[in-house]
């Protein structure tokens, strides 16, 4: 039998039982539509999450003083050492040595009591450079950040976190006010916009001053050159690894250390929390896709069920076809192709419905659904495959029917 005749014969058989074929396809339609939707939803959520990661600074490297491990494998003196200096930060900011870094900010912090009139509030005061808002992805609610000039002359200016301002003044619109630290007055030149909280606590309870102001006035007791942490913002999250390597070799070189395992500093990526969030979403996607796959399986069983009914119902037809010269393989192929056409049509309709919902739902749900072309192609191929797999048994049964028994069937 010619392949074209095989196809048209299968197609005619499907068309001559429109209702039954439509019901058979329904299972596949629902299964494929839900696969398209869940995969799209999963991809969309991952995209949302990775955008959030980028916004929160997954392109951020944190350089801390001290070795990450000592001989016992414990983090000895982590973060408490004084091995990082302002000179290190200046070197890291060089576009020659660390070309994949976009901005660098060193931080030196101290817990300090701020006073305004009768009220006082103890908070973390950070001395840093003008690149800090960019590096830490912070914006100002009121006023401005300090300038390079103010940094150079160790101006008595301070930028407050919104929570700090609220605690001290009972308001955040406090630009131009003065706060006192240890009898010294500082002009409030800006108030930071809220950033919520990280694992370490509120990101809004802090005060920021120029590094020079920090070492000369606020915290003059500590070693003036050492800094607590250096933040490096990579040019993009893809370049995070490259920036990390460049920063590491530069610091090893500056510190005169030959082997990386002897490093007196640690470079970390600030995304462990977000990693956890991503993996939760990934697990959710796997779960949803699993449920959709179950729907497909049920659809496939539906195909097998209807094909078996069809074989029983068409016993006489099969007998006649065999009597007229159809070989067992020809009969088998015809039923297999019927099942595959059902799978293909169901898959195509399912993809159309899935894509339609993927376009319509985000507006209603506010979530992102990414329709990937690959997922659509795979869906249709899977649908045809399901037709083939679940069509094998009915087709084999049809092929095995003895022509006389089949013809005798009333």
């Amino acid at each position: 039998m010619r392949p074209a005749d095989l196809l048209s014969s299968a197609w005619r058989a499907i068309r001559s039982h429109k209702m039954r074929s439509a019901l058979t396809m329904l299972g596949i339609v629902v299964g494929i539509a839900s696969v398209v939707l869940t995969v799209g939803l999963g991809l969309g959520t991952q995209k949302d999450v990775s955008e959030q990661i980028a916004a929160l600074g997954s392109d951020l490297l944190i350089v801390s003083p001290g070795s990450s491990t000592d001989e016992s494998g414990m983090r000895g003196g982590f973060g408490s050492g004084t091995t990082l200096t302002r000179a290190d930060a200046d070197a890291l900011a060089s576009t020659v040595a660390v070309p994949d870094a976009k901005a660098v900010a060193a931080e030196k912090t101290a817990s300090v009591s701020l006073e305004y009139g009768e009220s006082n509030w103890t908070t973390e005061v950070t001395g840093t450079s003008t690149s800090w808002p960019e590096v830490r992805s912070r914006e100002l609610l009121y006023g401005t950040f300090f300038t390079d000039e103010q940094a150079d002359e160790a101006a008595s200016v301070i930028v407050l976190g919104s929570e700090t301002a609220q605690e001290l003044f009972g308001s955040t619109a406090v630009v131009g006010q003065e706060v006192t630290i240890d009898t010294e007055s500082y002009e409030v030149i800006g108030v930071l916009a809220e950033a919520g909280s990280s694992g370490d606590g509120s990101l809004d309870d802090l005060a920021v001053v120029p590094m020079t102001t920090m070492v000369e006035q606020v915290d003059s007791s500590s070693a003036s050159e050492s800094v607590g942490t250096i933040y490096i913002k990579a040019a993009s999250s893809d370049l995070l690894g490259a920036a990390s390597q460049e920063a590491e070799s530069l610091l090893l070189n500056l510190h005169g250390i030959a082997a990386a395992e002897d490093a007196d500093f640690t470079i970390e990526v600030q995304d462990s929390l977000l990693d956890a969030a991503t993996s939760v979403y990934q697990r959710l996607t796997v779960l949803l896709t699993g449920i959709a796959a179950l729907a497909l399986l049920v659809g496939g069983i539906g195909v097998m069920n209807i094909m078996l009914v069809s074989v029983t119902e068409r016993t006489r037809e099969i007998g006649l076809r065999k009597a007229l010269g159809a070989a067992p393989a020809t009969i088998r192929n015809q039923f297999l192709i019927e099942a595959m056409i059902l799978g293909l049509s169901g898959g195509a309709v399912g993809v159309i419905i899935g894509v339609g919902l993927a376009l319509a739902l985000p507006a209603a749900l506010g979530s992102t659904i990414v329709v990937s072309g690959l997922a659509l192609v795979v869906s249709v191929v899977v649908a045809v495959g399901i037709g083939a797999v679940f069509g094998v048994y009915p087709a084999a049964r049809a092929a095995r029917l003895a022509p006389i028994d089949a013809l005798r069937d009333q």
Binding site: R321, K322, L324, G325, A326, P328, T330, I404, L407
Partner: protein, 241 residues
């Protein structure tokens, strides 16, 4: 066209040659001998009727002759080819090339037009669309239904349906036309119609094997075999015309 006779001395080789044909069915522990050693030779152009009451084994004989079933023992040579040892695929091919079936129930596919039904055996033979359309149309015209090729079986009378089935049996130019109670489902008018058609085919020199339990139908044949209890009773009776 010359009309062949059952004369064993005729020069042509037999179309059908059964030698010691036996068929035994097993149903659980029960054995049933449907054919108990039949010898039979049918020559080209013969019009043979096989008659017998139900349960006599004539349906089994028809299945064997139609290559729908195989012998338990014995030999069946169809148009020079020993089909008693063929596998299912080869049997399907033998049915397709050598045999034209006409069934009591017509067995037309209701989803196909008359033309589509007649084309079916040619589809399984792998004939290209244009050629099989032409051949199917010619076969339909031969049975007088050239103007009904687009009609579906539901739009045709019983007699017309059986004529479509005859066209389907003829379209492959088979060695034999095997008709199993072809008039069993027809009224008397259609019966005459269909039997006249078989007479015509016989007159054209086609080999026809007719299975029936009706004496008056069998009387149209040139030779009649009586089957009882899986055996031929006496030799083939030649009907004088």
């Amino acid at each position: 066209m010359t009309v062949m006779t059952s004369d064993p001395l005729a020069s042509a080789a037999p179309v059908i040659e059964l030698t010691g044909a036996r068929k035994t069915y097993h149903t659980g522990d029960i054995e049933f001998e449907a054919l108990r050693g039949i010898d039979c030779r049918i020559f080209p152009g013969e019009y043979v009727a096989i008659v017998g009451p139900s349960g006599s084994g004539k349906s089994t004989l028809m299945n064997i002759l139609g290559c729908l079933d195989v012998l338990t023992s014995g030999r069946y040579v169809l148009a020079g080819e020993d089909v008693s040892t063929l596998d299912e695929d080869a049997l399907a091919s033998a049915r397709n090339r050598r045999i034209g079936f006409v069934f009591q129930q017509f067995n037309l596919l209701s989803s196909l037009s008359a033309l589509g039904n007649v084309e079916l055996p040619l589809i399984y033979a792998g004939v290209a669309p244009a050629e099989r359309r032409a051949r199917a149309l010619a076969a339909l015209e031969r049975v007088g239904l050239g103007d009904r090729s687009r009609n579906h079986p539901g739009q045709l009378s019983g007699g017309q349906q059986q004529r479509v089935a005859i066209a389907r049996a003829l379209v492959t130019e088979p060695a034999i036309v095997l008709a199993d109670e072809p008039t069993g489902n027809l009224d008397s008018h259609s019966t005459r119609d269909v039997l006249a058609m078989l007479d015509d085919l016989h007159a054209e020199g086609r080999t026809i094997v007719l299975i029936t339990h009706e004496g008056d139908v069998a009387a149209r044949a040139s030779t009649v075999y009586n089957v009882t209890d899986g055996q031929f009773v006496g030799a083939g009776t030649e009907i004088a015309k």
